[in-house]
């Protein structure tokens, strides 16, 4: 129970920081809407459903990247991560709390993006929603670990996309696959498996990322 109390305290702090600074969420919302508008005008009117689905996933992926780039900004700028690392709580609690924050911001961005997608392109089916929910879990889990690694580096702006994008290719494959095939079960299962494997790996390895 102490572990989850630590996670709750850290997650509450992240939400409070965002409510105060309003750095991340407005940028994510603006980006995802702008990207969808650009895609709407750049796709030919007779483009296939598959093409528009692919573009939606690209927009969501880069929106996630935008949020992840800011995930450890407060800790990095003010060296607060040292203070958190010194606390006797399990260090994976920092990862879990941060992942929940990223997940919340991504979910809010998608709550705005999906109606816009339905308006510009095509109706949103349950397969797309299920795929996005599963994809978000994986993106938040892997992305938070990589954001912590990048935060410790001087070339963080370069490092995060270079590490993140190759590792989330399976998420795009699973997400697009689940949205365009008749039987999405196999792809949704693939996304769930990806989430489970990478969440466990990220949870277990965060300790080594933040320890010197």
């Amino acid at each position: 129970m102490t572990y989850f109390a630590d996670v709750a305290a850290l997650a509450r702090k992240d939400i409070l920081l965002e409510l105060r600074s309003r750095d991340t969420l407005p940028a994510m919302l603006l980006f995802v809407l702008s990207a969808l508008v650009v895609f709407h005008f750049s796709l030919p009117s007779d483009a296939s459903e598959t093409a528009s689905t692919g573009l939606l996933w690209i927009a969501l992926l880069f929106t996630a990247l935008l949020g992840l780039a800011r995930a450890f900004a407060a800790e990095r700028d003010q060296r607060v991560l040292d203070g958190l690392v010194l606390a006797p709580c399990d260090r994976s609690a920092i990862w879990l709390a941060k992942s929940l924050g990223v997940l919340a911001f991504l979910g809010l961005a998608e709550a705005v993006a999906l109606p816009a997608y339905a308006l510009f392109f095509q109706p949103v089916g349950w397969e797309l929603v299920a795929a996005i929910v599963l994809a978000d879990l994986g993106l938040a889990a892997v992305g938070t670990l990589l954001a912590a690694m990048a935060a410790a580096s001087r070339a963080r702006e370069l490092l995060l996309p270079l590490l993140f994008l190759p590792l989330v290719i399976p998420v795009v494959v699973g997400g697009v696959g689940a949205t365009v095939v008749d039987d999405p079960g196999r792809y949704l299962g693939f996304l769930a498996l990806y989430d489970a494997i990478f969440a466990i790996l990220s949870w277990a390895s965060f300790e080594y990322v933040v320890a010197e």
């Binding site: 630590d6 305290a9 105060r20 010194l86 010197e212």
Partner: protein, 182 residues
């Protein structure tokens, strides 16, 4: 890689008071970060016979969030350190370091001296057995310096204390050993 500390053989007894002196760049802060567990030695061995939660580390930066208030920052650390009677302890520390009136202000609006006082509250919040203080007098005015003097006098003989300072006259009388880094 630059080697900061070499040929260092050091033992601090429980309840001891070690004063670390030396010019800028001599490795005082690195030594404290090593003792805190934030850095690992590239060679040799380091044993700190205490769990993480029994160490209080005052760094150059206050290690608090600028967008949160003083109270919110201490409450977060109090929860993470599982401090019993958290609210009472936080209130007493804020009173002691003259920050009670400013407890609802965001740390970003604090002067450097107020941030240092808040950092001292953070360090003492969980009643650490080992105090690692890196330049504790930094940015403090005379009254706050007096508070640190009082704290170190109270602490002397109870907690184990390591203080790094390039103005050691304040703490030299309290120290049981001195390490001069070149």
């Amino acid at each position: 890689m630059k080697r900061v500390l070499r040929d260092l053989d050091l033992e601090v007894e429980e309840g001891g008071f070690l004063l670390v002196t030396g010019p800028n760049g001599s490795g005082k802060s690195t030594l404290l970060a090593l003792l805190a567990g934030l850095l690992a030695p590239t060679e040799g061995t380091l044993d700190v016979d205490l769990p993480r939660g029994r160490i209080g580390y005052l760094a150059h930066e206050p290690l608090v969030y600028r967008e949160l208030t003083a109270l919110e920052n201490l409450d977060l650390y109090g929860r993470l350190y599982h401090v019993r009677e958290r609210r009472e302890t936080i209130g007493a520390l804020l009173e002691r370091f003259g920050l009670w009136e400013a407890r609802h202000q965001r740390v970003g609006s604090f002067s450097r001296g107020m941030q240092q006082r808040l950092a001292l509250c953070r360090v003492l919040l969980h009643d650490p057995a080992l105090l690692l203080l890196d330049e504790p007098y930094s940015a403090l005015d005379e009254s706050a310096r007096g508070l640190v003097d009082e704290l170190l006098r109270e602490t002397s003989g109870g907690r184990t204390v390591v203080v790094a300072s390039h103005e050691p006259d304040h703490v030299r009388p309290l120290s049981t050993s001195i390490l001069a880094l070149a």
